[in-house]
Symmetry: D2
């Protein structure tokens, strides 16, 4: 039984639009930052796996739904649950503010050799590092 | 028979990652900029409809697939085709570099009163302004 | 004797360039985020003072020197020291990584009525909230 | 007698804050984009000089003054004038909207070997390419 990875994103004044709500591209920044924080947390930071292990997890698809706007000062709890495939991983996100879902969706990522020569199996140690956070 | 709206996005050095390819959040910036340019082109800039007409086209869903990376200096042709609903519009995107699809997807937008009190029909003049670009 | 406000900025993969170092605009994002965090910390978040108090601290000048590049994964300690004027405040920054200065500089901000009708004295309660962090 | 390099930056809705004016970090993005466009215009794009010539023009200082806010839809004319040193170049910027200066300042850049082993003379061909835009 996994527990999702969780971080709190505080919406900043500089993220907000003329109606006081966060611009969509800034929400996407926060989602990508969450994936980066997760990979660092499990000991496989994006900047290390590419340089030291020769592989990456490039994004092949993203799908997000926006249910409620968020405002400057909001503390948004972003949960990330990895869903493990053989040669891919899906990062599933749910972001809540005051207990209500604000946005949710997923990033589909493949495991690929650096340099673009095709997909590969998720390394066993990466798989093991993600499993405690996975749904099952 | 509509023709999509088209703009060229030149990938900049400051958009690129350690492998020389554009970071995903920077691609999302370019997509949102395209929606903004389109609305300006048809005479309904986002900044005017909200202030002068009291409505907006907030994003409720986005879905993108990334097929090929793009690099600094690439001229990426981004096409936007509006698909018109009664109370919503879907902006469909196809981005090509050297004739090959680099990324594609859509933004689903609803037509909503400013201030969040529910959806409304797309105004007739906005619908007419979008139709020349619509698929049919 | 004040102690500067301090936060740690972790450089992310998505901040970095083809040489693995942070793009300058991403450093500026981190500096602005620091000013926003500071204002929240002292109880005067940017989003509140403008809406509830009718004033702001718009930037009139920024000056930064970049001494050493920072890389993905670096934990950069950013210190902010407010230097208080009568109708203005200067936010002075020093950012260090592994004890070495990476970048430093200042943002000169004026205290201004919202809506652009000129500068005003820093409110006393804001001044008092900043003083514990000020150099003297 | 040089003529500065000039580009028009259209402020987008997604650049603007709750008061309808551009966030400062978005202005810095536009300035950096201008430097990138200039280098491409003169035939020395940032992404080529680093990879093919083994040098770069890293930023060592930036100084900007913000005189008037800019709003979504504003067409901001950004002028760049290179001021040539022996081992450095200063990019001087003046940005105007409706003929009035909105912001201005400079980026001080050094000419450096890629990889960080010190400064070097500006290559002659780069100097020649910049001269037509230089103040004199």
């Amino acid at each position: 039984m996994g527990e999702p990875y969780e971080r709190v994103w505080t919406v900043r004044f500089s993220d907000t639009d003329p109606f006081g709500i966060a611009h969509y591209p800034r929400i996407v920044d926060a989602l990508h930052e969450t994936s980066d924080m997760f990979m660092q947390e499990i000991g496989f930071p994006f900047w290390e796996i590419s340089q030291e292990r020769g592989f990456g997890l490039p994004l092949v698809e993203m799908n997000f739904e926006f249910e409620r706007p968020v405002e400057a000062g909001d503390d948004v709890t972003v949960e990330l649950t990895p869903s493990l495939g053989t040669r891919s991983v899906r990062f599933e996100y749910v972001a809540r503010c005051d207990g209500e879902v604000a946005f949710s969706g997923y990033e589909q990522r493949v495991c690929a050799h650096q340099g673009g020569d095709g997909s590969m199996d998720l390394p066993d140690d990466l798989r093991e590092a993600m499993e405690p956070y996975a749904d099952d």
